[in-house]
């Protein structure tokens, strides 16, 4: 199936619609990657969904990345959205500060975002405003840290039979 949309055309449309909220863009491996303003993220996803021409309305994935070195924008939210009609994929990024990791939930746009957002909360502690049931999903409720942030260890802390020197800890 051929792409009927081009990266440039979609980017132009986004820019003319949202102007300043589209902060930067690149095309790694032909996948349009757009960095957007955090507060406008939900609006943009909603616009992409309802736009009759683009029809970018299949949520592929939500994830987060932790960059401890980027001051004030430590957490990156990454949305992969797909247009099944036009066979066009787009990746949206919104950066959050680790002190106030808050972003609007998109559960009312995509029912499937529910668990993806809960997982992101579980792993990175991102707060999704407006999420109906924001609690841990994979880890125990009693867990008191967000394990996928870079500062936390991977290994189980209770192992005694492993010599740290041989396991790079």
């Amino acid at each position: 199936m051929k792409n009927s949309l081009t990266n440039d055309a979609v980017l132009q449309q986004l820019k003319s619609e949202f102007g300043e909220a589209i902060m930067s863009s690149e095309n790694p491996f032909d996948l349009l990657t757009v960095e957007v303003e955090t507060s406008k993220c939900k609006d943009i996803i909603g616009w992409l969904k309802t736009n009759p021409e683009l029809q970018i309305n299949y949520l592929t994935n939500i994830g987060a990345v932790h960059y401890p070195d980027l001051r004030g924008r430590e957490l990156a939210m990454v949305y992969h959205i797909h247009s099944l009609v036009n066979n066009f994929r787009i990746r949206l990024k919104a950066f959050l500060s680790i002190d106030r990791p808050e972003i609007d939930s998109i559960v009312d746009l995509y029912a499937g975002a529910n668990w993806m957002e809960r997982e992101t909360f579980d792993f990175y502690g991102v707060i999704f405003n407006g999420h109906p049931n924001l609690k841990r999903i994979l880890n125990e409720d009693s867990m008191d840290y967000f394990p996928l942030r870079k500062e936390y260890h991977l290994e189980d802390a209770t192992r005694e039979d492993k010599d740290d020197r041989f396991f790079g800890r």
Partner: protein, 409 residues
């Protein structure tokens, strides 16, 4: 039996206002160790008699921290982690990962290796769908089909063993292709499999497909509309059963899928029976793909030219300086990779299996996220079973093919 008209999953709330059967609402704990759940999931059901009013899910009982683990491992040591995602079809996960890395390093893979991959991946799809469909049979009370097709699954395991030596968690192939060409015994066994399996499949089909009991139990059980399925980001056979012809193999062909002629089966109701039929047809299509790939298997090499990732032959290691260096780097897991960001999706046993890889140029990924189809579509489960009977809920779960390893990462 359930009422078909009322069961469009979207209007779940209207069941809550229905008159109760005997005026009492019971709470039923389905799981986490319930035998009918095929894995460790918990569903707290509110039931009125047999009718399910609501359900609350708990998952994460086998959370193994794949994504964190992947941040600590060199690229070729991540393949064994992907094995354990959807362990019913490990080779698809392995090769999806290999293709992701190959995309990042922009390696050229020879046609032969691509076709070989297609053969193995389609075998894996058959194995995956066989488990799912036979387990639907078990849950409707037909154990015969299960024991029967498990013999055939053993043959697929034999084929895996010829290629890589393992049965279930295969770790098959390398970044760059395969570690060796198909052995003569593999060719023999594959020919034998292609000859005998269609008969077995037809027999299995005739056991269930038009079986009155099976049809009564499965038609109308756990339906979902196409619109809701898309809303929930369904993919794979479950989405196709709801009537959307989305298949990554066709939409974004990888590994030369564009060379093969096959159809995407779709259902209409999105219920258990449709999911069963879609999987049955997909097994047939997979056989067709394997036949095409095998009969047109191109000449050439079974591996691409990626010396940084592909372990050199032992002879070279002893006699060739460069090979020794590569060997050392690969074994120690110190291969650097270009920085970049890549998303690659393959059609796994359960749907779009995506790999979102961010490399910062180091020895292991900066971030690797798996798009796990199970995790995403299992959240629609309460909506699908509301208003159904408890026994239908069990069927719905097995027909969705919820694999705990994939779900819980």
């Amino acid at each position: 039996m359930t009422n078909l008209e009322n069961n469009t999953a979207a209007n779940s709330s209207e069941f809550l206002s229905d008159e109760t059967i005997d005026g009492t609402i019971t709470t039923l704990n389905l799981g986490p160790t319930h035998p009918a759940t095929h894995g460790i999931f918990q569903n707290v059901l509110k039931v009125d008699g047999e009718k399910i009013l609501s359900s609350e899910q708990t998952v994460g009982y086998i959370h193994r921290a794949f994504e964190k683990l992947a941040e600590r491992r060199p690229y070729n040591q991540i393949t064994p982690i992907t094995d354990r995602l959807n362990y019913c079809s490990s080779p698809i996960n392995n090769m999806g990962w290999h293709m992701t890395v190959e995309k990042l390093i922009q390696a050229d893979i020879p046609k032969r290796a691509q076709y070989m991959r297609v053969i193995i991946m389609e075998l894996a799809r058959i194995a995956d769908h066989l488990v799912c469909n036979s387990v639907i049979g078990v849950d409707t009370g037909a154990l015969t089909g299960f024991t029967y097709v498990f013999q055939e699954r053993e043959k697929i395991y034999d084929l895996y063993e010829e290629v890589c030596g393992a049965r279930l968690t295969t770790n098959v192939g390398r970044i760059g292709g395969f570690e060796r060409d198909f052995s003569p015994r593999f060719h023999e066994k594959l020919k034998d499999f292609l000859k005998t399996f269609p008969k077995v499949l037809n027999e299995f089909d005739s056991l269930l497909s038009r079986n009155r009991i099976f049809m009564d139990r499965t038609i109308g059980a756990g339906p979902i509309s196409a619109q809701r399925a898309l809303d929930y980001s369904f993919s794979g056979p479950n989405l196709r059963a709801a009537g959307v012809d989305y298949d990554v193999r066709v939409m974004n062909p990888y590994s030369s899928y564009e060379d093969f002629d096959f159809i995407i089966p779709v259902g209409t109701q999105g219920d258990t029976y449709d999911r069963f039929q879609v999987r049955q047809e997909e097994i047939r299509q997979s056989l067709k793909i394997i036949e095409q790939a095998y009969n047109n298997l191109p000449e050439g090499s079974y591996k691409g030219d990626v010396p940084e990732f592909y372990l050199p032959p032992k002879d070279d290691v002893y006699n060739n300086m460069e090979a020794l260096i590569y060997h050392f780097k690969i074994v120690m897991g110190e291969t650097a990779i270009p920085a970049g960001e890549v998303y690659h999706a393959v059609e796994g046993g359960n749907g779009e299996l995506g790999y979102y890889l961010i490399s910062d140029g180091g020895r292991s990924p900066y971030r690797l996220q798996f798009r796990r189809p199970c995790f995403i579509y299992y959240q629609a489960y309460p909506e699908m079973i509301t208003g159904q009977n408890i026994s239908d809920a069990v069927l719905t779960m097995s027909s969705m093919n919820v694999i705990a390893g994939e779900l819980d990462a």
